[in-house]
Amino acid sequence: MKLPHKLRDLLVLSFIGSGMLPLIAVGIISLQLTDQIQSKDISQKNQLIARSLAAQVRSWLASRADFLRQVETVISERQKYGGMFQTDAYLDMLINSNFDFEAIYIFDDKGMVLNTGLSALIPYQKKDFAGIRLSDDPYYKIRPDTRGITWSDTFFSFHSGRLTVNIGMPILLGNIKGSLIGSLNLNVLKKILHYDISEACSENDGAYTFITNRKGVLIAHPDEKLVREQYNLSHSEIVSKGLSGFGGTSRNTDNRQEFLVSMVTIPETGWLLCFQQSVRSAFRIKRITLKIFLAGIAVTGILMIIAAWKSVTGILIPLRLLTDAAEQVGAGNLDFRIRYSSDNELGILASAFDGMILNLKTSYESLRHLAHQNELILNAAGEGICGLDMDGNITFANPAAAEMTGYEPGELIGKNLHARIHHSEADGSPYSVTTCAICNSVKNGCCVNVRDEILWRKDGSKFPAEYTGNPIFTDGSIVGAVVTFSDITARKNAEEKLRTALAEKETLLQELYHRTRNTMQVISSMMKFRSLSVKDEYVANVFNEMENRIQAMSLVHNKLYESRNLSDISLKTYIADLAAMLMKSYRVSSDKIRMVLDTEDVYVLIDTAVPCGLILNELISNAIRHAFPGERHGEIRICLRRTDEGEILLSVSDNGIGLPDNFDTGAGGTSGIQTVFLLGEYQLRARVKFESRNGLRCQICFKDNLYKPRIL
């Protein structure tokens, strides 16, 4: 994949921009500041140079003027005091000792040359000047309004051919007010302006000084030819500016070359001294600085580009690799690995990415295995399992669900479950969505379990089903439900069979109990019948006793039949019925014997009830028959309760005549007592105790734990 250039360009530009732009900005600002400062410095420097040179020129001119003043003083004094003063010789001496002057003239008041001092430069002799009226020459005139020095315009001396300026002043020659004129050779200016130093006035240096007279004519210039030609610079804007009194430094362009011109006016002569330096030369440092700056920018730029490229490459290549890896992983290739190793952060990222892919692969394999397992489980499940969305539409149906409902596995997906298989009641009437438990499970998020409803197959047939609906939550919100259902046809058939069998058994049991009671009744009746024909009272009593025993057992079976579970009976009610039955059997009225029942509601199994019944029959019968002979009245008390130790305590007592003193109340006693002991000790594992005091009392205490219920 080709990465878009945006990042690369962005990085490169950022690199370069962040490095270069500040540098350039700083450089430009620095250059501008430098330029400004340098311009100012150069202007000041050039101005200083110009001033310095002008000062030197002025100083020289002033010294020449002072020299002439001294000459004037000397000559005036000599003339005052008369005597033999050789003025010409004096002047010659002065000329010879001062090479600046090429001639000194003394005019009379009419301007006629009186004395001269001539240098060797002048090819004339004194006599040539005698009687000449040089004052007519404007260069030799002293302005009458000045008392001091008169400076002439510069001119090329016709005497020496050199550029000259005349210094004039009045001189008192006795009574005559004459003029003293000194012709100053301006060759000195070359020296002052350093024209003799070739480098100083080299045009390569770009800096030189020139002087113009008050008319703008060059009187000093490195190019002497211009001076000779009396080149006039008054047309120059800068020179005319200077001649009009402007000082300072300005820029001037001449022949497409720019110059810095620092101007100073020499007030004595009105000359304009200009120190001119080409801008190129003046700002050489700036140019060098700019070159260095540009070179630095260039080098920095190159280095930046290299660094940027290196960095970008160092970032983009691993990024490309990561991108490729991400695409591969996204396409499902979890075996892909990034082949990039480095100690830097990108190397660590690549390594972490590889680790992530490995973990993804492991997780994916686990998930796939889990999903496969789940699929196998769901497909293998015997129950129908359907996933529903919030609208009750089927999102998943396992093969069992499809098979039970007669659909193909994929047929159910997307269909509404209620509409497909739960739409009607068993009688075909519509089953409302609002009352449908499954729909409510999805709607309200509640779990439902219905044990017996009807589901419908594709072919329109129905089957009984048990189903559960459980909502599915994601992040606390209902997103659907899972419905599992089973075809309970077999179960219902089995239940029906069980109900039928149970009914049959119940009928049989009823029949059995009936027959048992009937049989016992027949036995009792046969005994009764036989006793009717017995004349012997003892035998008749025996038959009666047997009948009572049978009735006692029959009563147990009656109670069992009436009991809630056909397993245990209430001894309380049994005792009441037995006592009543025996009182009736022995035809004893309650006026004679009062039967007191102090009984708790104790339930026992039939295995315990029968021996208890037989024991009670013996004890109650005994008390009725023997405790209250004759007209004696009394009370028979029957107590029944459970002790704190969980034992059953049963006692029959009377307040009758009791037993004779020598009566054996042990197991070797009468058959009745033997029966009590046999049933009590052998069958019930009870403690049997007889007491004969103020009547007879028999107490039986036993744990009712020998038998288990046969009907649970």
């Binding site: 295995d607 021996p611 037989l614 029966t675 046999l678 049933l679 052998y682 069958q683 020998l706 038998y707």
Partner: protein, 119 residues
């Protein structure tokens, strides 16, 4: 030996057998007591009721006794359950009698068993 939880039935059986000249051990009412008594007394014949008091029924007691002593056992029961009968017959008892049994039936059974033992 008579193994019978119904006290009167046990007493009558013992008395009638004694009256017929047999030596009868003290009757027991539970399967546990039957095993203990059989090991101790080693009777020649045991009349075993199937439905007994306690945890063990007569068939279990008979199986345990049979693992120790080869004592002929005749089951005497009021149950006519076929499964119960099959369980009992697996132990190859000396006999299987349904209640109520008369003294003559008891004596016939005793003589049949004892003659078989003598053979």
């Amino acid at each position: 030996m008579v193994v019978e939880d119904e006290a009167l039935s046990a007493m009558i059986m013992c008395r009638t057998l004694e009256n017929r000249g047999y030596s009868v051990c003290k009757p027991v009412a539970t399967g546990e007591e039957a095993v203990i008594s059989a090991i101790a007394e080693k009777p020649d014949l045991i009349f075993m009721d199937i439905c007994l008091a306690g945890e063990k029924d007569g068939i279990q007691a008979a199986q345990e006794i049979g693992e120790i002593h080869n004592i002929p056992i005749i089951f005497v029961t009021a149950y006519s359950d076929t499964d119960l009968k099959k369980r009992a017959e697996r132990l190859k008892p000396a006999g299987y009698m349904n209640k109520p049994v008369g003294i003559d039936q008891l004596q016939s059974a005793i003589e049949a068993v004892l003659s078989g033992v003598q053979k």
